[in-house]
Structure formats: structure tokens, C-alpha cells
Symmetry: C2
Subunit: 342 residues, 2 copies
DNA sequence: CTGAAAGCGCTAACAT
DNA sequence: ATGTTAGCGCTTTCAG
């Protein structure tokens, strides 16, 4: 097996010092075209590649960003959300020539282990952490260790940090207004976990919209756990109150709600309209097609990586907060038979 | 912000050379209990953590393993498979104190970029690559660069490499035998892409089982793309041949098939029985509950990471091939109303 | 049991 | 424009 050549050797072969070779590798400023060409030739011939670790040692940059997801691992990937997020992240990371390291852990798992890896300087240049749950200790450690961090979502409390989020509140508000405009009056709500920022914000937004329309929930409230099954159960309970419309804080829960409606012998949207949130499942997955509030998850991921890069570079000093718009996509489950403005 | 202490400083504070401190950090052999204690105290007080990059430079180990998934990114995470795999990988990686780096790319994406990152020595100690598609160039490069590699699945052709796989063939064979035993005679097949090892092996296994039962496909064959929609379309075509049972090479395609059966006004399992493969969707997601061949994806991931570690350590010299069993789980969609042996 | 010294491969002043 | 030198923080002989 061919031993990997070092800068020194390339220099020897090309008949010059390693510094010159280094200059060529790194942009080739202050080098004569002749030597530059010579070096490039040798590099090509030998298949030389810079040793990233050695480079990191002096540059203090590894080119690795960590993605930290504190979550219930069992259900993590049953939600298409994280997949889309990762896609956006890797896409962006690739473009910036960075690589993504994955740190998944649930509450129980040895947090020290993760911490030692994530916080331990040297491995990652920065961290993107999802606000799926409030891991204050980890956040604090990141802050203490002065590790560039970007939050996807929003820290409910805790230090100010740069973040990328979507307009959960606005989206949920739209949903409420839409339902009200369609003449629904006994509207119910299936919430996402209240320990997540998305859960809180969607709840607040929906209440706001309702109030704006002169309506209120009157106790028609349930909390789910993002899963389809939890949505079904929540809807079952809600059905006792004879709602004519229900907003579920995620599409998966909405699908469960759809199921409950069907199982109860009722019809959606005739008996009860349903609106979801996320826009990550394709319309033809459900009958009727689901009206939902879409959020640009891929873009959030991509932007988070870019923002983190800026934080690492020091381009962004003070915490910056980026919010992507959400959009109500009207399909069949809300019972809007004709076209509707948002 | 507190500057990170180095070994040298710890030594200075503790009143000894950095070598001694280093010894304590790395297991503490050949050090007097007294100094060991002294060092540990200073380390605890200062919050010293070894600089991973510096350590890597001399140890030639980064503790990072790469997960390479060449796939159609749009549909990547719509399949629960990869999520489960990652969970197994990270679980195992955490246990071995390694971290997982993610390299996703579809065919079009700049392969050079990935290659430069994956193959470029120094960043990753080894690579786990999924055989979702045959990326011969990448495989060759890995081989050339002498990078420890473990394949999840099986290389259809290409060099011999350590791999972890499941018994796709055996599982599909079981499915065929089961269907035959239930008295089904006009059996159809929905295949997974023929450029994947799972697609090929499940096909072969199913044919074997059929032959063993004295049956054959007689042209009742379609190929899907793993997706639900492709399964639905495949089933629609198959329905023209009036099959009384169909095996779909993945659960998602089976769900699509279920849908097609329903849309055609037929009943599953009365008119046509359906068996899937994967066992990754929960039974209550479909009506009727899906009979399927389950594979232990989490374990595959976990084992792959362990195997890779062994390859990196040199414990495993010659390519090792590990195969996990699959298991037929009988539920409703195959029409076995009473308990059945496998 | 401990310290001194060398060096991993690279970059970045500082000379020339 | 190019070479020389000095580290980055750590591990690891090699002496003592």
C-alpha cells in the first residue's frame, strides 16, 4: 500500500521547500506560475492530499459541525422532520466544505459521554442543536465552553443564542382564521408537547387566531406526542365534545385524528374538518387530502448550517434570529370546496 | 473566556513534566499513586480535556467513522430504514466512544467533493457504506486508499469487503412458502430495484420458495422503487392478471399494494393476500394488519459499527460477512386466520 | 517512576 | 518568490 506522501516529500520531488508547496495548495499566492504548475503536476501524479488533522491542529478548525438531537430516539426517525432537516444541513455543509457529525441521545443516555464529545473542543467547530427538548445543562456547557452554537427552533428559556426557526405562531394563527372563515364554530385543538418551542408557539398562535375570530376552545384541548397514535387518541377524546373542526399541531397527529374520525363513523370534512401542521407527508397519503400548514424544513436546515458557519467565522457577533414563513395549504380535509385565499 | 489548558500547563501546576501527566490521562500506568492523585485533582479543578486533534495527529486515529449513503436524497428519509440504521450505528458508536459523520449524496451531486472528504485520510478512521446503489468508483477509491470499510448489505460485484447483511433470500423464501401453504396459487411479485443487493436477493429467494412449492410467477412480476406510490402502481398492473396473492419486497410498497387492492374494489386478504418485507411500520398503520418479513435493522447498524471498529483495529483481517436472520411475522394481510408456523 | 527530547504534518511569520 | 524556523498539543521512545 502506497504510504501517503507529506508536504515535505512533494517538495523534495518538485525540488523545493514544503512552504512553497503549501502556498500552492492554499491558493497559490506569491508563487511563480512556473513552480505552481510544477507543484500541481507532482500533486496530481502522487495523488497528494493534505492531512486534515495536521492542518486542523494549526488552524484550529476541523471543518466538522455537530448536529445534536436530544430526543426520544425510538420515535426520532419515524418523523420525517429530522430527515428533511439533515438533508438541508448536509446540503449546506457540503457546499461549505464542512462535514456533519451526528450526536443523538435520549434523556436517559449517558449525557456525560455526549457532552465530552460535543463540548470537548477540538472535534467540532460548532454545534447545531434542535430545540426538541430543553436540555439546559448541555446548552449551558456549550455556552461555557464558548462553542459556536445555532439553535433550530427556539430556546424556551436559557441564554440568547443564534437560531433558525419557522413562524409556528403565524402558521397556527392562519389555520384558526381559516377554519373560522369556513364557518366552523366548535373548534378543537390537539397540541404538540408543551416542553417544545414548536408546541408552545403553535398553541399560542392558534389561540390568537381563534380570539381574533371571536371564538375560543372552551376546553376542547388535548396534547399529543407528535405520533399518529397520540393524535388518534386525542381525537377520540375530543370527539366527545362534538367539535366541527380540529387543528392538530402536526401532520402525523392529524393523520391519527383522521383515523379516529373515520373509526367513529364520522366524515371528514363534512362532520369535522381537520387541519395539520408540517407539510411533510404527501397529499395522496390520506383520504381526504390533508389541509396543512407547511414549513420549509430543508431550508431551515440549510440556513442553520450557514448561520453556524458565520458564527464560527465571527461574522455574526450578536445572536441572530432567523424566522422562515409558514404557509397554509388548503386541500380537502378542511372542507373548503372552493379556492380559498390564505 | 478561560483559555483551554494544555498538558504542559497541567504539568506546571501539578509540578511535573507533561509526560507524566499524559501517562495519568492515558490509563495511569507507571505512575505513583501519589502523583496520579495529584494530577487527577488538577485536571478536575482546571477542567482540562485532551485536545482531540492533537492527539489524533500522533495516534493516527480520529475516533470518527463515516456513514456513506449513496441514494436518492429526496426519498432517503421517507424510508424508516435509514433512521433505524443510524440509530443502531450511533448507539454502537457511542458505546465505543466514536462519533459518526454523515456523508449523503445522490448520483448527481459532486462525487469528487464527497470523495475528497471521505477518502481523504485523516478525517475518518473508517467508513460504513450502504449498498443501496452500486457506487463502484467510491468503493474502489476506498479500497485504493486502504480505508477500513464495512458494507451494509452486499456488494453485487466489486472487491470482497467486510459486510453486515440480513438474510433477504431466506426471508423472501419463507414468504413464498407461507403463501403457497395457505393455498394461494396465482402468486405475484413486486420487486425492489434490481440495482440493489436487497432487491436481487429478495427476488431470488422468493423464486426459490415458489419453485420449492411447485409454483411459478408466470409473468406476474413488477419492479417498484421502494416507495408506496410505486407499490400502488405495480399492484394496479398486477391486478390485471388476477393474482390471489402478492409479495412486495418492502412494506412501503406493500402499503401501496394494499391501497391498489382497495381502490380496485377488491378485498385483502380474501381476494388477494399481501406480504411485505422490512417490519419497520407498526401493525396498526394498515388495514388489514400487514404480514411481513422482519429484519433487525437496528442490530445491523450496531453490528456494522462494531465490525468496522474491529477492522480498524486490525482484529479482523480477511473480509468477514455477517448475516442476520429475518423472520416472517404473520398478521392479517396474508389471510392466515389461525396461527401458523413459519 | 519520571523527565527530556523528538516528531506527527501542516501553517505562518520572518528572513532572504 | 522562496526557504528557514518555530510551533500547534499531544504521545512516545529513551535515558536516568
Amino acid at each position: 500500500m502506497p504510504e501517503r506522501p507529506t508536504l515535505e516529500e512533494i517538495g523534495r520531488i518538485a525540488g523545493m521547500s514544503r512552504s512553497t508547496v503549501s502556498r500552492v495548495i492554499n491558493g497559490g499566492v506569491n508563487v511563480s506560475p512556473a513552480t505552481k504548475k510544477r507543484v500541481e503536476e507532482v500533486v496530481a501524479r502522487t495523488g497528494y492530499r493534505p492531512h486534515l488533522v495536521a492542518r486542523s491542529l494549526v488552524s484550529n478548525r476541523t471543518g466538522v459541525i455537530g448536529l445534536v438531537i436530544p430526543s426520544d430516539l425510538e420515535t426520532l426517525f419515524s418523523d420525517p422532520y429530522f430527515g428533511r432537516l439533515m438533508l438541508g444541513l448536509t446540503d449546506s455543509a457540503n457546499r461549505m466544505d464542512m462535514t456533519l457529525a451526528l450526536f443523538l441521545f435520549d434523556h436517559d443516555s449517558n449525557e456525560n459521554l455526549i457532552r465530552s464529545k460535543v463540548v470537548n473542543p477540538g472535534l467540532v467547530d460548532g454545534v447545531i442543536i434542535t430545540a426538541t427538548r430543553i436540555e439546559t445543562p448541555l446548552i449551558d456547557h456549550l455556552q461555557e465552553a464558548d462553542i459556536p452554537t445555532v439553535v433550530v427552533g427556539r430556546l424556551i428559556d436559557g441564554p440568547a443564542m443564534s437560531s433558525v426557526d419557522v413562524d409556528n405562531e403565524g402558521g397556527a394563527r392562519q389555520a384558526a382564521l381559516h377554519l373560522a372563515r369556513l364557518g366552523r364554530e366548535r373548534i378543537g385543538f390537539i397540541g404538540a408537547p408543551a416542553h417544545t418551542s414548536a408546541g408552545i408557539d403553535r398553541h399560542r398562535g392558534f389561540l390568537d387566531g381563534l380570539k381574533e375570530a371571536g371564538l375560543s376552545l372552551e376546553g376542547r384541548v388535548q396534547e399529543g406526542t407528535w405520533t399518529q397514535e397520540s393524535g388518534r387518541i386525542a381525537m377520540e377524546k375530543l370527539l366527545g365534545d362534538r367539535p366541527d373542526a380540529v387543528f392538530a399541531s402536526s401532520d402525523r397527529m392529524a393523520v391519527g385524528a383522521l383515523r379516529a374520525v373515520h373509526d367513529a363513523g364520522l366524515h371528514c370534512p363534512n362532520d369535522v374538518a381537520i387541519v395539520g401542521f408540517d407539510g411533510l407527508i404527501s397529499p395522496d397519503q390520506t383520504v381526504p387530502e390533508l389541509t396543512t400548514v407547511t414549513q420549509p424544513v430543508f431550508q431551515v436546515g440549510a440556513r442553520a448550517a450557514e448561520l453556524l458557519n458565520a458564527v464560527i467565522d465571527g461574522t455574526v457577533g450578536v445572536p441572530e434570529r432567523i424566522i422562515y414563513p409558514t404557509e397554509l395549504v388548503v386541500r380537502q380535509s378542511c372542507g373548503a370546496s372552493r379556492l380559498e385565499g390564505s
